[in-house]
Amino acid sequence: MALTVSYFAWVRERMGVSEEVIEPPAGVTTMADLVGWLAARDARGALAFAEPARIRGAIDGVMAAPDAALGREIALFPPVTGG
């Protein structure tokens, strides 16, 4: 299934793109799976997702936990620093 994945802050810088459409294998069903798969995919993924504990995510526009099932649009980013 094709997923649209967007990246923010230093995750985007390390991935070198702000958004991409990907087709992970069938075994990738949760956000944690996706982060692990991206980390193993190539050098930029290994850099961006070297520390999965520092990665937050949203699924279809809603904040989600690592074990949440994937949707169509996934956002991956570091902890926030607004205000």
């Binding site: 923010f8 802050a9 230093w10 949203a58 526009g61 570091p78 926030v80 620093t81 607004g82 205000g83």
Partner: protein, 146 residues
Amino acid sequence: MIHVAVQTDAIDVAAEIDRHDAGGHGASASFIGRVRGEDGLTELFLDHHPVLTEAGLAGLAHTAADRWGLAALTLIHRVGAMTPGETIVLVLASSPHRAEALAACEYLIDRLKTDVMLWKRETFADGRVRWVEPREGDQGRAERWD
């Protein structure tokens, strides 16, 4: 009257206060956060998520307005590139009495640090660029309200 905005344009504090105050509320508390030019900082860039940032701000605004029974609430966050002295965030909270306006204002600024999809990147005069890391203290201040 809740007004929430995420914008790349400069925040016009005086105009926002005028709009907010049209009702003539008993007590208004405000908070203005500005870019600090410490350590030779030349630019602050705020990255944001086109959907989640505004949704997060709106969620916080409604939570605060309900919790403290506010008469009016304005919550504006700037995103994109800013220079020292420019306003990053404006919170205006009004209620008939002071305690609610002050508490709502403090709640919002604490939660903005931890609950809204925004990421700060600092650029310095010597060329250094770094993404701001979350601070332990911010998490603690935000959790006081749980």
